[in-house]
């Protein structure tokens, strides 16, 4: 075997000055303060959830505590967001509640992606009857608005956090299946798929070893955006009484509980509502920014 002398002049040099992900990320962030805001909100939420018992001024207020001597106090230096009907600190409950919202959202999305992505990949890669069947089932799920779907599922079971997660995931996998389906449909026409095939790679290896890694960017963007939407849907369920039951400090449940005290005790609904708002907007802005950084499409 001969080898070409490595000292021989080498083709053209790489044409474009290689722009690393870090450089691109920095440039995007500088041009888009909204992404930074989104990122900070998300970071704050995660930190809040992770260290909730240490951040909340009265962590015990998350449970069934009763402090009647300080019930329905408006926001003050001691209770920034006021106190509720039985005297619990609203700020503490919101901080503790972030754990529920975030855990729900993460669990839902992990479950939805684990169900949806493989199904979408298989449907697009195999095509034919397999693909058509998967996508038709997908469309049946898609035809029912997710809130209605989740309402039906939860009302058939006893409302609790696992049930909420299960119900939302069951409604949400369709989006992941469709996303993966569309991406794989175009990726499988790339020549590297033919190259893998002539290399002798099995269908399983091509679909999940070669094609799937090319979905990471879109999946990262999608999951980030979805974290916000799932938090919103979870709160909606809580509001309708189909989420985690009181005394759990679920944000939607808190809004529902405080609703009867409007307009006098406005802080009972406003602050949990704002928490939901901040989470949704935060994940949305951050997701959009990620989309730009990772070179995704609009």
């Amino acid at each position: 075997m001969t080898s070409i002398a490595p000292s021989a002049p080498l083709d053209d040099e790489p044409h474009s000055v290689a722009v690393g992900l870090g450089t691109r990320a920095w440039a995007s962030l500088r041009n888009s303060p909204l992404t930074v805001i989104g990122f900070l909100v998300c970071l704050g939420l995660v930190v809040m959830a992770a260290f909730a018992p240490w951040i909340a001024p009265f962590p015990e207020d998350a449970g069934a505590v009763v402090k009647f001597h300080q019930r329905l106090q408006p926001p003050s230096a001691e209770h920034w967001f006021g106190t509720d009907l039985v005297g619990r600190d609203v700020l503490s409950r919101i901080v503790m509640g972030s754990r529920i919202s975030l855990a729900t959202a993460v669990a839902v999305i992990v479950a939805a992606a684990l169900i949806g992505v493989p199904l979408g990949v298989i449907a697009a890669y195999r095509g034919g009857w397999t693909g058509a069947s998967i996508m038709r089932i997908n469309e049946v799920f898609l035809a029912i608005p997710s809130l209605v779907f989740v309402l039906v599922v939860t009302s058939l079971m006893r409302p609790s956090l696992p049930v909420t997660i299960f119900a939302i995931a069951l409604a949400w996998w369709t989006w992941y299946a469709r996303l993966a389906y569309g991406e794989v449909l175009s990726l499988k026409e790339e020549q590297f798929v033919d190259a893998a095939r002539t290399s002798g790679a099995s269908d399983l290896r091509i679909a999940f070893g070669e094609i799937l890694p090319n979905l990471t960017s879109v999946l990262i963007v999608k999951t980030t955006l979805d974290l916000g939407y799932v938090i919103l849907l979870g709160a909606s369920l809580g509001f309708l009484g189909l989420g985690p039951q009181p005394p759990a400090p679920e944000w939607g449940t808190m809004v529902a509980e405080g609703r009867e005290q409007l307009p006098d005790a406005w802080w009972l609904t406003t602050f949990p509502g704002l928490a939901v708002f901040a989470a949704v907007v935060g994940f949305n802005l951050f997701g959009d920014g990620l989309n730009d950084i990772l070179g995704g499409r609009d």
């Binding site: 001969t2 070409i4 080498l10 083709d11 290689a18 095939r197 002539t198 290399s199």
Partner: protein, 325 residues
């Protein structure tokens, strides 16, 4: 000389199938019609033709990426026409391809090392250490510095990418290398280096090569036999010297006259320009008789009725044209 590849009257029809209620949705497309080709160890065949002439489909048939509608394909001593899983395994162990677009043919999420190693992993060849060693050897062989081993394809230049593609194709020591316009998307100076590399590999490893191209200059450089395709059929084949010095088929002659020249005096060294009328006919509506007759200035009555067969006009030089009785 052992025969590495034998195509015997191979055809490929892309059927649209039957629509609902048994109606045909679209006319069938005859991409390749009765192509016969033989290639021996160390031989290099150039497959020439314009877009839609069926040369890429022929390449895909050889590699088992699509199933032949008729005919017989024999690769490295085995009839692989049926394309059973065993046949596919045999094809993957014997033939590899280098694609036209080096970027699209390299997985953007995989490093050079992962890409070159894929055939070894997929075919369970060697241990991890042996594979790493082999990758190193292959990169030396194609002249890509080892420092690019962990680079992603988008960090490489066009020529470097094509070297990765060639290294991948060589990984399993194939007996046949299919080159699908391997230089078409490269700068001219880079083209020359990639062609030199292919020359070198052919000399040192003796791998049979099929070069699919519409670039006659490239074909002349690399091939010792040439087959000219028009609308799915081989209209002329022979040694490179025969085809280039005495092109017989009016279509081949027309192809030569289409070679751009810088100095008009060079034109004189090329065969005379016969006129070609009209556009390339679509493979979905192949004319009766000789497929080339609507564009041929020498067409006679029989050309529109009778399909000409390949006939020898000299030793090893065959042409399918009614002008040669």
């Amino acid at each position: 000389m052992t025969v590495v590849l034998r195509l015997d009257r191979v055809s490929k029809v892309f059927g649209s199938g039957r629509g609902w209620f048994g109606r045909s949705r679209r006319p069938d497309v005859r991409a390749v019609s009765e192509v016969s080709l033989t290639l021996e160890t160390g031989g290099r065949v150039g497959l020439v033709g314009e877009s839609g002439s069926g040369k890429t489909t022929t390449a895909r048939l050889i590699l088992g990426l699509t199933r032949a509608s008729a005919g017989r394909i024999e690769l490295a001593g085995r009839d692989v026409t049926a394309l059973t899983p065993e046949d596919e395994g045999h094809i993957h162990r014997s033939a590899q391809i280098v694609f036209q677009d080096p970027l699209s043919s390299l997985n953007p999420k995989k490093s050079v090392q992962q890409i070159v190693m894929l055939p070894l992993i997929a075919q369970k060849i060697g241990t991890t250490n042996e594979r790493l060693e082999r990758v190193k050897e292959l990169l030396d062989q194609v002249g890509l510095p080892q420092r690019y081993r962990n680079s992603l394809p988008d960090r490489l230049s066009g020529g470097q990418r094509q070297r990765v593609g060639i290294a991948r194709a060589l990984a399993i020591n194939p007996q046949l290398l299919v080159l699908d316009e391997p230089t078409a998307s490269l700068d001219v100076s880079v083209q020359a280096r990639v062609l030199a590399l292919l020359d070198d590999l052919q000399r040192s490893l003796g791998i049979a090569q099929i070069m699919v191209s519409h670039n006659l200059g490239v074909i002349r450089h690399v091939a010792d036999k040439v087959a000219v395709m028009y609308l799915g059929r081989i209209v002329e084949q022979g040694s490179t010297a025969q085809i280039f010095s005495a092109p017989a088929h009016p279509y081949t002659q027309a192809l030569f006259s289409a070679i751009p020249v810088i100095d008009p005096s060079e034109r004189a060294s090329l065969p005379q320009r016969p006129e070609v009328k009209g556009e390339v006919t679509s493979a979905a509506h192949i004319p009766n008789g000789c497929a080339f007759h609507p564009r041929c200035t020498s067409a006679r009555a029989e050309c529109s009725n009778v399909v000409p067969q390949l006939k020898a006009i000299a030793d090893g030089h065959q042409v399918s044209c009614h002008l040669y009785p």
